[in-house]
């Protein structure tokens, strides 16, 4: 820690440790695994998160409490998963009732998840791949951009920040989630560039089949929430323009209160992508904080599988 004014990252960490002292060693391990470049990104993302929090209704202390709740709930799900080898939620209807339609829990959940973006080494690693491998190296000026399920809005904002897209959209099926995205873009920038709307991709399938307009599509931490992940991948092929690239972040062996579809390995995730009519162009596996890839695979611990895919057969 520096002796000067507390940085956003330091403030965030201090708030979490004040409500959850036992979590200090996890955070130290998570930070200790990062390169200097990743630490710089961590500080940058923490500043963005601090701005989002300052512009909203809840203060940092509330976010810290909500982060603890989300981690503890996830730990409970982890034990159920280890005992049963499957996710506890068995249908979208159940999750929709218990989580998505439960406004109080949704607020807690989304607050907590926002902090994981910087506190969990795997989530920060995903952001690093998204920025450096996808946005910087695979996106060209003038392309159109679509994110499905933008949630907290950070990925959409980072795409706006890249400054190359001619047309940008964010689609979600949840009003509350879309309001979060809108808030993020209003605070961090990008609100004027992005068309946000309630849109179920599956409902568009017949209308747009073969006439897609989006050249870069983002589907981050969405597939595991759906009962039929292959179906949405097929539907997305219909909104994709020729030469499109799809960025996917799908957690493997990652139980959570609202995860339905279980991918047991990177290979299973890749098979869903292929079955959905896409071809894997690039892939990376990022294990949970504190775990090597080998140990995460052996112990069936969460791995974020990152995939960039192109429509098959082009």
């Amino acid at each position: 820690m520096s002796s000067g004014p507390e940085s956003a990252l330091e403030s965030l960490i201090a708030s979490v440790i004040s409500v959850w002292p036992e979590h200090k060693s996890f955070i130290e391990r998570s930070l200790g695994e990062r390169s200097e470049e990743e630490m710089e990104l961590s500080r940058r993302i923490a500043e963005k998160i601090a701005s989002i929090i300052e512009g909203g209704d809840d203060d940092l202390a509330q976010y810290a409490k909500d982060y603890r709740r989300v981690c503890e709930d996830t730990s409970q799900e982890q034990l159920k998963f280890m005992r049963t080898k499957k996710y506890s939620a068995d249908s979208f209807e159940t999750v929709n009732r218990q989580v998505y339609q439960n406004a109080e829990y949704m607020a807690t959940y989304m607050n907590g998840l926002l902090l994981t973006e910087v506190l969990w080494r795997n989530h920060l690693g995903c952001l690093s791949f998204y920025i450096n491998e996808f946005l910087s190296s695979m996106c060209e000026p003038g392309q159109s951009f679509l994110e499905i399920g933008p949630g907290h809005g950070l990925l959409l904002h980072l795409a706006c920040e890249r400054g190359v897209f001619s047309e940008m959209a964010g689609w979600d099926i949840s009003e509350e989630s879309l309001e979060r995205t809108s808030h993020c873009l209003r605070i961090l920038g990008g609100a004027e560039k992005v068309e946000l709307r309630i849109q179920d991709v599956l409902a568009l399938y017949d209308e747009t089949n073969g006439g897609g307009r989006y050249e870069r599509i983002v589907l981050s931490e969405v597939l595991e929430h759906l009962p039929d992940p292959v179906k949405i991948l097929r539907a997305l092929k219909a909104v994709a323009a020729p030469g499109a690239l799809l960025y996917i972040n799908v957690p493997v062996n990652a139980p959570a209160i609202d995860h339905i579809s279980l991918f047991r390995s990177a290979e299973e995730a890749h098979k869903a992508v292929t079955d959905g009519g896409w071809e894997v162009v690039k892939a990376k596996s990022i294990p949970a904080t504190g775990y090597s890839l080998e140990r995460a695979r052996r112990l069936r611990v969460a791995i974020n599988e990152l995939v960039v895919a192109a429509p098959a057969g082009e």
Binding site: S25, F26, S75, Q78, L79, M82, R83, A288, G290
Partner: protein, 81 residues
Amino acid sequence: MIEMTEIELKEMIGSIVDCSPDQIRLEMLLEDIPNWDSLATVIFVSELENVCSFILSPSDIESLKTFDSVVKLLRTKEAEI
């Protein structure tokens, strides 16, 4: 039910956290074992339940602070069955 020796317990923990069983001492806090974290606790509990054919209650899990407490809990469970 399979009864586990202290050495087998150390080997189980060692395989979870990638450390030598020799590094684990009886009085040692689990959190002081290299690479130990809350996720390791969950993995350890599920492996222990699987091998020994019992289910640990939340209070059982909460009591797992030191390696010695693991051994004592295991012996209590063995005596109950």
